[in-house]
Subunit: 351 residues, 2 copies
């Protein structure tokens, strides 16, 4: 069995959030795409989600390993990791629960191990709840850090398991943005900028984007300061750090331009043909909000979060557990669907 | 003659840029709106602009003061300040020229004096060139600083002419943004944030927006840090500065909410009815690019720059002299038209 035939592994996420429901909705709404996917989760939680959505004709089909998913219609294939504790579907939806948090961790671990054993070709993660993880004593602040550690443990070739540098990419129908810094104060983010960190971001971006665009990815780099520093008048990070990083990337034959004024580069990279074809395939932004403000401006319904730099493909919908919607069957599967589609594109040409 | 009948004063800008041409195009394309406007500039430069645009049937009508504009059609009314030097229309378009820079300064001075004498009801400034001003030894870095000084000189009631606090508002069809900090490095902008500076911005915003929206303006405040600081985890400016400023503004009966996560508040304030009516009338942003990235994301064709806090209305198109387009007649008057429309709205209900 070749890797191309291995399914995308869709982890259930927090059993008390909207994750199980939007997975069910995805299967109902996107049968073609879903043929290449399997849920990693608890069968009873997924049966409850079928009820929430009102999918009466459907049933859960439990498989013993991801590669053995069924081909029947109106069937939700679920691979249940052995270490999952019982009774998860008895926990009421809509709130923080430590058992539900631990179960979400078990599913992610199992999925990554399956990826390592070539039983899956990529992972799409339904939302977990960070405060629930904290309550349950989970050591990781979120998905990304956990995936970094698991990747280091499983894929490391040397004696020491070093964390791989990863970057967050946010995408929607019109724009792709990769962030150099993420979850820290704006002051600390500025302090954290280095030539090496920016070059590393450009390398990761260039490598990952090759799966999505023909030829060399056209990378635009946004400056940090107003007008990209106006030749040093409004800050020197463009001269000291960003410019030299771009030079280095060009020496490595990447198609990188900038640093551009932050207030117009995202407009230039917006892809809305035929009137407005993008000038660039992706924008690298120095800070969380320079990058995410334009990605989210037109709405978050189709936003996808992609973790770049891991030894496997990982995408996720760009929203949380939405406890207030859990159990209603009303949550939209649009972002999850976009995440599966992106994972599918990335894995079809992943090297 | 009452102030309401006084015209909007449209300053010519740099004679070598696209300013004169887009003024002509505005008169050709927007006759209704233009009836309430007059050019403050050089008649020969404006005649040359009529030629660039190919408006053969049109001619310039020079008036001796702004209130005496003609009512005929196919006529461009121009008020020529007496101190304007001769020969301006002999300077080739498309480059930096000190005489052209000085002339743009004379027009602005004359227009503001006319405003002070109630011969105009607001000013719309066509683009000047900052490097040309610098070359010509003009003491101001740009329009805004010059207008602040002129306002202090002419409108000051006490002995000392204090600079009035002003703020930059950028608007388009969907979004209004007011900036707390503008042209400095991102580091310096963070250092420059104070409770008083933010409260002042909220007061100026609240007062100015009353001319544009019914009732109390709904003001959203964007945080500085990712997730608006996540309760102090990613920076404390929201707790130390922005939160207390919002509290103060509420004590003064303003409708102010926030601080909100920067990456989603602009999406929420985007006005695209009926699908997406805005939750807020304006967003106050801490930094230049947090505010301008979303305003410019969908394009700058209809962007308008408004200087809030002056004793008069001032708007301008959101672009520069575009030397590469000057003389071709191809530059778009869309942003200038939007700027005139905004000035018209602001002055119709300006108190």
């Amino acid at each position: 069995m070749t890797l191309a035939m291995a399914p995308l592994l869709l982890t259930m996420g927090d059993a008390c959030g909207i994750g199980p429901e939007i997975l069910v909705k995805f299967w109902l709404e996107q049968p073609q795409l879903a043929r290449h996917c399997i849920v990693v989760g608890d069968p009873d939680v997924m049966r409850r989600a079928l009820e929430f959505v009102g999918a009466k004709a459907w049933h859960v089909h439990v498989v013993s390993e991801p590669l053995l998913r069924p081909a029947e219609s109106a069937v939700l294939p679920v691979w249940c990791p052995v270490r999952l504790e019982a009774g998860l579907s008895q926990i009421p939806v809509g709130g923080v629960d430590a058992r539900s948090a631990r179960a979400s961790v078990v599913c992610i671990e199992a999925a990554v191990q399956a990826l390592h054993q070539q039983q899956g070709r990529g992972i799409v993660t339904a939302p977990i709840h960070k405060a629930a993880w904290h309550l349950a004593g989970v050591a990781y602040p979120g998905h990304t850090e956990m995936l970094q550690v698991l990747a280091a443990q499983l894929w490391a070739s040397g004696q020491q398991a070093l964390l791989l540098p990863v970057r967050m990419m946010l995408t929607n129908d019109q724009l792709r943005v990769v962030l150099v810094t993420v979850h820290q104060s704006l002051r600390q983010a500025i302090d954290a900028l280095t030539v090496e960190g920016i070059v590393q971001t450009l390398r990761i971006t260039d490598k990952s984007l090759r799966a999505l665009v023909p030829g060399n990815p056209r990378i635009a780099v946004a400056g940090l300061n107003p007008h990209a520093g106006e030749n040093g008048l409004f800050g020197d990070e463009e001269i000291r750090l960003i410019g030299p990083a771009i030079e280095q990337a060009r020496l490595e034959n990447m198609d990188v331009q900038g640093p551009f004024a932050p207030d117009t580069v995202f407009m230039r990279a917006r892809h809305a043909p035929p009137e407005h074809p993008a000038e660039f395939d992706v924008v690298v932004a120095m800070t969380h909000d320079h990058g995410l403000i334009p990605v989210k401006y037109l709405g978050v319904d189709h936003g996808v979060n992609v973790t770049l730099g891991l030894p496997f493909v990982r995408t996720s919908p760009d929203h949380g557990t939405a406890f207030d919607l859990a159990g209603t069957g009303l949550a939209s599967a649009a972002s999850l669907t976009a995440a599966v589609r992106m994972a599918s594109q990335l894995t079809n040409s992943f090297k």
